[in-house]
Amino acid sequence: MASPPPIVEYAVFFTILAVLVFVAGEYLAWVYREQANSDHRPPGYLSWFERLDEIFTPIENGLYRLSGINPRREMTWKGYLKAVLVFNVCIWVLLFVVLMFQDALPMNFVGVGGESWDLAFHTASSFTSNTNQQHYSGETLSVFTHTFGIGIAMFLTPATGLALMPAFARAFTNKEDPRLGNFYENVVRGLVRFLLPISLLIAIILMAEGSVQTILGGQLTANTFTMGIQNIRIGPHAGIEAIKMFGTNGGGINAANAATAFENPTPLSNLVLTLAMPIGTFSAIYAWGAWVGNRSHGVAIVAAFFVIYMALTGVAVVGETGTNAGMVVTGNGLHVDQTVGNMEGKETRFGPTASAIWGLSTTGTTNGGVNSMHNSWTALGAFSLLFAFATNNISNGVGTGLLNILMFVILTAFIGALMIGRRPQYLGKKLEWQEMRYVFVVILVLPILVLIPQAAAVVYQGAIDSMNNPGFRGFSEVLYEFFSASANNGSGFEGLGDGTLFFNLVNGVQVLLARYVPITAQLAIAGYLANKKVSPESKGSLDTDTPAFVGLLIGVIIIVSALVFLPALVFGPIGELLSGGI
């Protein structure tokens, strides 16, 4: 049995994904049905969800009691925002302290040192904001830091994102009622019902496939027969990897991330982890339709983002199954046979297609984990990655992703209504200047955070010196780095020497602004809309579940968001492509 052709892997992946998005979407809708103030009911054949209450409710009640949470204490948007910020500051402080002083903390089995203040600032900010951009090698953190610092943030930051969703749903399900629910209740529900059980399942699959899992050791020593002693780094790989991929986190224990065998041992583990990324984000989009009582609207938005995701994945597969221009060389009469595709920076067990699908899954969400080195991708492949960034990572992150894509949906509803001469409204709530002002703030965050520092970096010698490749590729490296920080993604065109004061401070500020400015604006929007009354749907209202709406939504995303970056893309991957570096 030979390796499968690219089209088979492509079809298998998206078929399985579509089914899982539906099931996980119904499940997530059920998890937050009351908190979203929704009258959602799962379909009959999924009614067994209700029996899970018997398992989860006692665990949640225990956590409420231990943490002093009163779920009945409802918050307005300002109270909600305050809770989000205070909770995230606590996570940041924990990370900063653990990173600075990991050399003095226990479980430092391989003797790593503490991080410098600027690196610790960047790392703490990056992991608190669910970005997981790394300016250090993963191996320079201790097992303690991974277990009690990084690993904790990997659970709590996607839970923060999840907790925002039901609050935002209340903007449309509330009738003149400013209460958005209790933030901490929503965090705990997301952790107990969504993140923890699915992570446990993924971690067990990983261990069955060969991932290592220990918190009592840091290295395995082998006595080889041709290279002497080989020391091998081990740690809590399975546990960290599972939540890292499912919570759109992405920061691996190993520098080479999921390209290494202990993080991602086999093709099957690779499939599970590739699916884990978009399931967390697309299921939330599906759940949105269920909460607002219009499942077909949820399906329509999922479809729009699937179209962009599948199209860019197709471009990446074409690029990576093509040849690497740098390897078209001869030496002593020998040349390289590249019929299988571009294998530079890729693992044999995955091959070019599965690596390309992973690449677009990690940039089609804000995950940022990699299973191949993106900087070794072809120009066409690199273009697809950077274009995914330009759409703000297609489906974005767990929880926050739904809110971010709804900014585009609201904008589309606004434009669509004006086009047919109606008063703009979305799901029965009137859209006025107060809300639209904040929608534009969110949409403008990405271009402002990326393009202004990019302009500064190309004339700053320190940044130019950090580039690992000459020409267009060096420009792409810096562009990728700023995109990755400003979209809270965290992956890298690795090779860029980013552990400098300049990149630590610039990226550190980018990740924080990229996370908390949109959240503030979105909670404000939720606050305004929740207070409005629901106007009945009339015959002239814009339908939000038709193919026409899907098409308009795709158009708005491409025109409003992605085209802002076209000039920058021309200097990067497009320039490289046109100059023959396919």
């Binding site: 002093g68 191996e139 082998a222 740098g326 390289v336 920076g345």
Partner: protein, 216 residues
């Protein structure tokens, strides 16, 4: 801000350290030790007569064309850090970087020093992996080396091809991932065959009794 606004997040963080740090990682480790002890230990590979593992099934080792002592074995992929598994790294040279072409050309020249079946070298032999310690090469890359290994070791080509088949793993259900050959597993078979050969040679020298436990 009242006291509760700070007490609740701090207590929740403390509870999280316990539940998502200690309990989550610890219980997974316990499950691993009980159900998947081999994975949990890092998939060590043991050989007779050596207490320490000879390597990990998951982690590649250095067998390179530039090193004459590796000529009897199947080569693994180029590595940015010489298969040092305490870190992981890649050179990250893009397709337009002249350094990449230089490296590939140097590898082709090293390969050309030995027997080659044809001029078309499988990409796997000259491309770096992402992790820098990929345990595998493609079947095409292994088959390309059969002629050389056969000439250098005296093991028949047919026997080497059987070894490759034995060390080959299939894609998942034939629909996801790529076929691959575990280089360490393959080279251990080659080494066993070499040891056998040596023993036969020694036997013909009538020294069999002295090297019964064959430590070469």
């Amino acid at each position: 801000m009242n006291r509760q606004d700070l007490a609740v997040p701090l207590r929740l963080l403390g509870v999280s350290l316990l539940v998502f740090g200690l309990l989550y990682q610890g219980s997974l480790m316990a499950i691993g030790d009980a159900v998947f002890p081999n994975s949990s230990a890092g998939s060590p590979v043991y050989v007779d007569g050596q207490e320490q593992p000879v390597g990990s099934q998951m982690i590649g080792q250095q067998f390179r064309p530039g090193q004459p002592e590796d000529v009897q074995y199947f080569w693994s992929r180029p590595s940015a850090n010489d298969y040092n598994a305490m870190t992981s790294a890649s050179t990250n040279w893009g397709p337009t970087n002249p350094l990449l072409s230089e490296r590939v050309r140097a590898d082709l020249q090293n390969i050309s020093q030995y027997e080659t079946p044809d001029d078309s070298v499988p990409v796997n032999l000259v491309s770096e992996s992402g992790s820098s310690y990929d345990a595998h090469i493609s079947p095409a890359a292994a088959e390309y080396q059969v002629l050389r290994v056969a000439n250098q070791t005296g093991i028949s080509e047919q026997r080497l091809n059987e070894m490759i088949d034995e060390a080959t793993k299939e894609p998942w259900l034939g629909i996801w991932g790529h076929e691959r050959v575990n280089v360490l597993e393959l080279n251990l078979m080659v080494r066993d065959a070499l040891n056998e050969q040596n023993e036969t040679d020694q036997n013909s020298d009538m020294n069999a009794s002295e090297i019964a436990n064959g430590d070469h």
